[in-house]
Amino acid sequence: MKKVRLYTLSTCPWCRKAKQYFTKNKIPFENIDYDLATEEEQEAIMDQMDEYGGTGEFPFAIIGKDSVCGFDPDEYARLLGKHK
């Protein structure tokens, strides 16, 4: 299975939905809350998001070599080769 990294904000309702999606579907994922991270971690997250064309909008998922900006279960399922 592709590796999933999920960047979120603790204040964001769509980030909660994204976490619920991966948890409910038993898809292992690594999660970091940007707003609860250290300054150094935040800079590293923004740099990585920039590399994928992100603009600071959350949730931001990196699935394998692809990224998904925003809560998009259809796109998560497509990239993971799963049916909804």
């Binding site: 904000l9 204040t11 964001c12 309702p13 769509w14 980030c15 940007y34 707003d35 300054e39 935040q42 923004m46 064309g53 992100g54 603009t55 600071g56 909008e57 959350f58 900006c69 925003g70 809560f71 998009d72």
Partner: protein, 109 residues
């Protein structure tokens, strides 16, 4: 001032602004309540009610573009989604916010 009181204040302050922009509070009352609650917390922490779904960085100019309601700074993007990024506001003609998806700015602009 209590969080509930400040939430009411923000609703009172933001309502007329977004109305003039062609938007309204989402019919999803639970989402609206949650987002306003997060904005009150962000205001307590940073002094400004930032969008709860966008990154606050060291770049002040960039941060000013995510102060709620941030619609004027993202007009084309939000108009294409018929909602703002966090979903607190939707176009006035929207009755079912569940049909609206988050679309990244890069796919719209």
């Amino acid at each position: 001032m209590s969080a509930e009181s400040r939430k009411r204040d923000l609703r009172f302050l933001f309502g007329p602004i977004v109305d003039a922009l062609g938007y309204k509070f989402s019919p999803d009352a639970e989402l609206v309540d949650f987002c306003l609650e997060q904005e009150v917390k962000l205001e307590e922490k940073h002094g400004i009610p930032f969008c709860p779904c966008q990154a606050i960085t060291k770049d002040r100019k960039r941060n000013m573009k995510i102060v709620c309601p941030c619609i004027p700074f993202h007009r084309k993007h939000y108009d294409a989604m018929k909602r703002c990024w966090c979903g607190l506001y939707v176009h006035k003609d929207v009755t079912d916010p569940d049909t609206l998806k988050q679309i990244p700015a890069s796919k719209v602009l």
